[in-house]
């Protein structure tokens, strides 16, 4: 028996506690009646105050920093060139994400298909576009005319629908969308694939046993559940892409970043313009995050709300 063991000490206690049974019970009732306080006094409040103080200091050191030239920042925040850049950044991100997601759904379904060739093709796509740097991709799509001087869209052996010189058909903006979309498709396809496989096989079997076709099970049962799982990582990707589109500076598309650069190259107001850019990205990311959490909440609660709506229509009593 170790002497440090408290129960051992109690057992070995030569003098049994003299307290009588009623007294012991009285003490228990007394303890049971006491209020409960937070352990550790005001530790929580002290930490909160400290954190706020550090935060305030940090903010103040930024705001009061002369080097940031806030007056110039204020002048450029709503400058028409900067606002145009903001729109281009939004447009690039939205278009690339939209095209990327459509491609991603196709690639993800190919990867999960029963057909060996389709699976391998999808695998190749993901492998290639995940391993190619976006910047390289961007430069390739921008210079597509070097590789393919003319582009022809038509039915093979049939009529030609569109034909022309590549550099007139594909604007720098389109080249950028193409590059970002291909890159995003490779990543999102993996997100979608893992979300789809995360839906239990029982859902497939239940649908199959009810006589639903594969396509219908995907559409009505599996994809809605997979989407719920995929929204957080897709939101992450969108935010990443928003800032990643600043690579278009390399192909001279005037997005937010490149616009700012082209201004400070003339005026040397480098720091305040970088602050302007940062503030705008903060605004855009904040909006995106809000949209994401809204979507997450909607998807989680959607079926429940539909259920409520159905009840109202049925004239039943809400629960």
């Amino acid at each position: 028996m170790r002497p440090s063991d408290p129960s051992a000490l109690a057992e070995d206690d030569p003098v049994p506690s003299p307290t009588s049974e009623p007294a012991r019970h009285g003490r228990m009732v007394e303890l049971a009646g006491l209020p409960i306080r937070q352990r550790g006094g005001h530790r929580r409040e002290i930490i909160a105050v400290a954190v706020l103080a550090v935060l305030a200091l940090a903010v103040w050191s930024v705001v009061s920093n002369e080097a940031l030239q806030w007056d110039i920042v204020g002048r450029y925040m709503l400058d028409i060139r900067i606002l145009n850049g903001v729109w281009v950044t939004i447009g690039l991100t939205a278009a690339s994400m939209a095209v990327g997601l459509v491609l991603a759904v196709i690639v993800a379904l190919m990867r999960l298909s029963g057909n060996w060739a389709l699976r391998q093709a999808a695998l190749l796509f993901v492998w290639f576009f995940r391993s190619t740097p976006v910047l390289v991709l961007l430069i390739i799509t921008f210079n597509l005319s070097l590789f393919y001087p003319t582009l022809t869209i038509g039915i093979p052996g049939g009529p030609t629908l569109i034909s022309g010189e590549t550099h007139t058909l594909i604007s720098p903006f389109m080249a950028a969308v193409l590059a970002f979309a291909l890159n995003e498709a490779a990543y999102s396809a993996e997100i979608l694939r893992s979300s789809i496989t995360a839906v239990s096989t029982g859902q497939w079997e239940a649908g199959t046993a009810l006589g639903m076709t594969r396509a219908r099970i995907y559409r009505r049962v599996v994809l809605p559940q997979a989407l719920r799982i995929a929204i957080p990582p897709l939101g992450n990707d969108t935010i990443n892409m928003l800032k990643g589109t600043s690579l278009v500076a390399f192909i001279a598309v005037f997005d937010l970043m490149y616009t700012a650069q082209s201004i400070y190259q003339l005026t040397y107001e480098v720091v305040p313009l970088l602050v302007v850019v940062t503030l705008w990205y903060i605004v855009l990311v904040t909006v995106l995050s809000a949209v994401q959490s809204l979507l997450e909440r909607r998807l989680r609660g959607r079926s429940r709300k539909l259920g409520n709506a159905a009840r109202v229509v049925a004239g039943g009593k809400p629960a």
């Binding site: 079997e205 219908r216 259920g307």
Partner: protein, 254 residues
């Protein structure tokens, strides 16, 4: 009366080297309730899954109301039917799973309406009133707008039964429908199944619930190692118990 609804002929199923079903033959009369019993690994689930082509038998055939399931006859061989055709055939066979498998993102009512609207093409109003009727039958009408996650296991299983019934199947398959339930929830599901049987539904039920089998099933088959080793009235299978394996198993379950 010899009105056979479901007929399995010489079904075999092989997984690699494992012969999981070894020539299973079974005829089920319209309105009959057949209990399938047997030790774990006997092939009960595999057998049931062959009966709606969730699993392809390695050899043998299944007929639903005389129609060959999953294949068409071409000269001297069988060819698997197009997926769409197989899906159509599956409407005739309802299935209830051990783990319920309700669509988690749909309310109870939506779960029951989904296939009638999407697969049978019923208009929503019709499908809805039919779904409400069925939920009434299984005693779940008061939870029509609840989500599956808000229900107990027994309630989920009763909804799953209503969902399968909504397709107006000719046969209902149950794979250990109460095995995943807490003991106090078993009877509500069995009660629902008993009512179905009384209403004349043809049912094949894999279960270890001896009491249910005694009271509801006219017939029981006992499977072991991929074969049906006993087939008769429930009493026959129990009392006879000529087969040592059956005796052994019953000794454990009773």
């Amino acid at each position: 009366m010899n009105d056979v609804v479901l007929e399995a002929v010489n079904l075999s199923k092989r997984y690699g080297d494992d012969l999981v079903l070894d020539g299973v033959t079974l005829q089920v009369q319209r309105g009959q309730t057949v209990c399938v019993m047997g030790p774990s690994g006997a092939g009960k689930t595999s057998f049931l899954r062959c009966l709606n082509h969730l699993e392809k038998p390695t050899s043998g055939a299944v007929f639903i109301d005389g129609e060959l399931l999953g294949y068409e006859h071409r000269g001297d061989h069988l060819v698997e039917l197009p997926k769409r055709e197989i899906a159509r055939q599956r409407r005739e066979v309802g299935m209830v799973f051990q783990s319920f498998n309700l669509f988690t993102h749909m309310s109870v009512l939506q779960n029951v309406m989904e296939a009638p609207v999407g697969v049978l093409g019923l208009d929503r109003k019709q499908a809805r009133s039919r779904a409400e009727e069925l939920l009434e039958t299984v005693g779940m009408a008061h939870k029509a707008h609840a989500m599956p996650e808000q229900l107990s296991g027994g309630q989920q299983q009763r909804v799953a039964i209503a969902r399968a019934l909504a397709m107006r199947p000719k046969v209902m398959l149950f794979d250990e429908p109460t095995s995943a339930l807490d003991p106090e929830l078993v009877s509500e599901v069995l009660e629902t199944m008993r009512r179905l049987s009384d209403l004349g539904m043809t049912m094949i039920v894999v279960t270890h619930e001896i009491g249910f089998a005694r009271e509801v099933a006219a017939r029981a088959v006992f499977m072991d190692a991929g074969r049906i080793v006993e087939d008769g009235t429930v009493e026959d299978v129990f009392r006879g118990a000529a087969n040592a394996r059956v005796r052994d198993f019953l000794g454990k379950v009773l």
